[in-house]
Amino acid sequence: MSEQNAIIKVTGLSYRYPRRGVVLDSVDFALHAGERVALTGPNGAGKTTLLHLLVGLKKAKAGDIWAFGESRSEEKQFIDVRARAGFLFQDPDDQLFCPTVLEDVAFGPLNLGKSREEALKIASETLASLGMEGFEERITHQLSGGEKRMITLASVLAMEPEVLLLDEPSNALDSDARQRLIDTLLGLPQAMIIISHDPDFIAQLATREVRLEDAKLRAVNLTEPQRVTA
């Protein structure tokens, strides 16, 4: 049933919160190799919730999820999805919990069964590739907002994910940090889903836009030519 070249594909996905009611109503979506899909929609539409469902952090009430060529429905099956999809959280503070930058970036590789030496090596290399060398021993908690964002991105990339799920990556960044983030993302080969409220950010990055509103997901026509940059 799964499309041949879709990395992630969902059909009929629904979710409701106890008191809030339905936030996702039978949503269909597919992410293909090389795409950078912008996921937009008003506050509280359920964008973050959708990403959480994709990696099994919340359990869908109905619908099917295929990821990396297999159907996924149980916690066990999602462990593999999480190892292969890099999830950048909306709030970097939630994501950083090791004392130093290096340890935090090495946390993912360690969970994937790498030895300590290997994990630290991967971590240093990833930091270097993002132009963040010299931050290894910095205390995560004392970084500025922009630096935190870059470090969480490094810690996601260190797991060598096959796809990226980015939840409002440009929030609270100043203009320099924002541009650095855009350049980095444009240089990455992975397919990605990007949630954002920033039209210019989306215009520079996305190859395609979908909008979540009233619990329904629909495609947006990108009329402006500059939106397709890749």
Partner: protein
């Protein structure tokens, strides 16, 4: 670790209550109003920690963390832990009501002891030494707590002797886990926010 109502003898209950009242009185005296948020956070953390289960082989244990709380609060651990235990008893039926005094002293007194024992060690300039003292504090507080729980039972009747011994044995894995977890938490906090553990910044940074 919580003992339920009905198991202990009256003198044990009375002694526990008296010790807790004394401990809480000292704790309240050493704690000013500006300190309340900090103490409240740790009290809440103790509450939450008892819902964090870690696997041990085929079974699992939940964290207690009284060592860490003692290291951060000293005598203020008494009111903090009493409040957490009270809330658990009243809203979740965890532990009993009249044994609250005994339960509080069993958990809070080791916290205070660990504070005096390890406070100096965890502020050592060497992270290895600090981590070791953190581990001693984490494991040690559980050892003392378990011994005190065992004693509370034994003093209430000969028949509890076996149960008391069993309690101790059953908590050996908890001691190990708490040791490691507390050591890691101490390492993190002294790097990230040393003032939280009352560690002098200059010392922690050499």
């Amino acid at each position: 670790m919580h003992i339920v109502d009905g198991a202990l003898a009256l003198p044990v209950l009375a002694t526990g209550a008296a010790l807790t009242v004394a401990g809480v009185a000292i704790g309240l005296k050493k704690m000013d109003y500006d300190h309340l948020p900090q103490v409240g956070v740790l009290s809440a953390a103790f509450f939450i920690a008892s819902y964090i289960h870690l696997p041990i082989g085929f079974s699992s244990v939940h964290l207690i963390l009284n060592g860490l709380i003692g290291l951060a609060l000293g005598w203020a651990a008494f009111p903090a832990l009493l409040v957490a235990l009270f809330l658990q008893a009243v809203f979740f039926g965890f532990g009993g009501f009249l044994v609250l005094g005994v339960n509080a002293v069993n958990i809070a007194l080791p916290a205070v002891m660990v504070y005096y024992l390890c406070r100096h060690g965890i502020s050592s300039p060497s992270p290895k030494v600090a981590a070791t003292w953190g581990a001693i504090g984490g494991a040690g507080s559980i050892v003392i707590t378990t011994v005190m729980v065992a004693f509370s039972l034994m003093l209430s009747g000969e028949a509890f002797l076996l149960a008391a011994k069993a309690t101790f044995v059953a908590h050996i894995p908890v001691m190990v886990v708490e040791g490691f977890v507390t050591a890691a938490a101490v390492l993190l906090i002294r790097k990230v926010k040393p003032e939280f553990l009352g560690i002098d910044e200059e010392r922690a940074y050499g």
